[in-house]
């Protein structure tokens, strides 16, 4: 892979495998390259391995085998401090939200910006902007634990994108949302994508990826199955 190509690559996976005890092959030999600025949808049956893949991309889990590179960093060799810096450049909307139920919505969203030492006015205006876009402005000072699931899900999405990351990983971001509200989220993601952010969205919701020109990857039992367009996924290669 040339240096130029390397610069353009956001996510690079080579023959990544992950097995959980006793013998769940959550991922098997996954090779994948996602360029900067792309918006990719990841689909697959429940238990196919989508979340496992996303967790490895943000460094929560390590692969048993294979090689992962994010924004040029080899995750198996990265130091603790660098990993933390890299994480500030990645926004993740977790499938189980990971909100702090005893903090307000605004505080929850602020977490991702505070660790990057953003200024208070920036945090405030960013929070308000996102909550307005997601129709949650009136919940700004409500405790996150008291919200409805759909509201919580939107808060977790707001937190993921608040720090203006280079890469957004979203795991089932519309699972608890009705069609109209889901549309708000899709629009938000699109607007970030238009500004050059790379997105990888794991979803079951056909409505949000069923548009012309969408790039979809499907996992089946831990293996990459269909992709659309077919050129998207690189051929399996050895470790470079």
């Amino acid at each position: 892979m040339s240096g130029e190509e390397k610069k353009l690559t956001m996510i690079d996976l080579a023959r990544v495998s992950k097995t959980f005890p006793p013998d769940v092959h959550a991922l098997a030999d996954v090779s994948l390259r996602i360029r900067r600025g792309e918006m990719i949808f990841l689909t697959g049956q429940s238990g196919a391995g989508k979340t496992t893949l996303l967790r490895m991309l943000c460094g929560i889990d390590c692969p048993d085998k294979g090689y992962i590179e994010i924004a040029g960093y080899d995750l198996s060799r990265i130091s603790g401090g660098e990993m933390q810096k890299l994480r500030r450049r990645i926004g993740v909307a977790y499938q189980d939200f990971k909100l702090l139920p005893d903090k307000t919505v605004a505080q929850n969203i602020a977490y991702s910006m505070e660790v990057s030492y953003r200024s208070r006015p920036f945090i405030r205006s960013q929070t308000e902007k996102l909550l307005t876009e997601l129709h949650l402005l009136d919940k700004q000072d409500a405790l996150a634990g008291k919200l409805s699931r759909g509201e919580q899900q939107r808060v977790s999405i707001a937190r993921a994108v608040a720090n203006e990351p280079e890469l957004i990983l979203a795991d089932e971001p519309t699972g608890n949302l009705d069609t109209e509200t889901a549309l708000l989220v899709t629009q938000l993601f699109r607007s970030y994508n238009e500004q050059g952010t790379t997105l990888l969205i794991a979803t079951h919701d056909q409505a949000i990826y069923d548009f012309p020109g969408s790039k979809v990857i499907k996992i089946e039992n831990g293996r990459l199955a269909i992709q659309k367009p077919p050129t998207l996924v690189k051929k399996a290669e050895g470790k470079e």
């Binding site: 401090g81 933390q84 890299l86 994480r87 450049r89 990971k98 977490y111 991702s112």
Partner: protein, 295 residues
Amino acid sequence: MNFLLAVFSQTWRSIAETWRTQLLSLITITLSVLIFTFFYLVYSNALQVGNRLDNDLRLIVYLDEQPDANLQQEYQHKIEKFDQVERIEFVGKLEAYDRFKGQLDDSQDVLKDIPKDFLPPSIEIYPRRNLESLSRIKGFSEYLETMPGVLKVQYGREWVERFYSFIQLLRVVVFLSGSLLILTTTFMIGHSIRLTVFSRKKELELLRLVGASNSYIRVPFFLEGALLGALGSTAGIAALYLLFRWIKTNFAGQAAQGMFSFSFFSTSSVCMIIVLSILLCAGGSFVSIRKILSV
């Protein structure tokens, strides 16, 4: 600069939000410091009591004749051959008579017709005041009786034994309770810290996930721990001091002139205790997060 600001605002916010739970930790620490220092104080004062109580301990060797300077030296030599002693005093016949007369006080007239040398001369031996020498005191007395010219050896055997065993027992009890308490307080403080950290486990994990640096997470905990330690130990020592004053004024009154000289910790000890508590709490917090931060 940004980092410091963020860390201080973090610390401040977490204290503001969790002070109710922290209060429990604070009470724990205060109680622990109070108990610990209380026992330390009792122990150190008990040791001193032990040293003072046995001032009266002496062996009296009654002689059949008044020894001259030569003989006195010989006796002294023989005595010191057996054991190191604190002091040896020779009491002549006349001295003995004066003492007896002094004791009779107003009724000295009864001695009017008695010859002034009717009491035997004696040697008073003050042994070293430690437990080893005490355990040998019986042997000592037997040895002294074998010396030539010795009529009888007298010592407050019963008293000596009572005292020493009592003081020694006191020491053992205080020491044991102290150990039990240190065990308990360590357990409690450790538990309390772990609880505090644990109650914020989710928050810590989230901070890791959004990319907070290690120091960004740890320093607030460290500061909080230090603050807790400082407040807790100060409160504990203050409580102990009040207790000490109270005991001193109410119970040690008669004793104060005599055998006890109750003393509080010196200022430097107090500082030491506070610094130690701060280090312990801050360190404990620091170590506790370590385990959680393995995400």
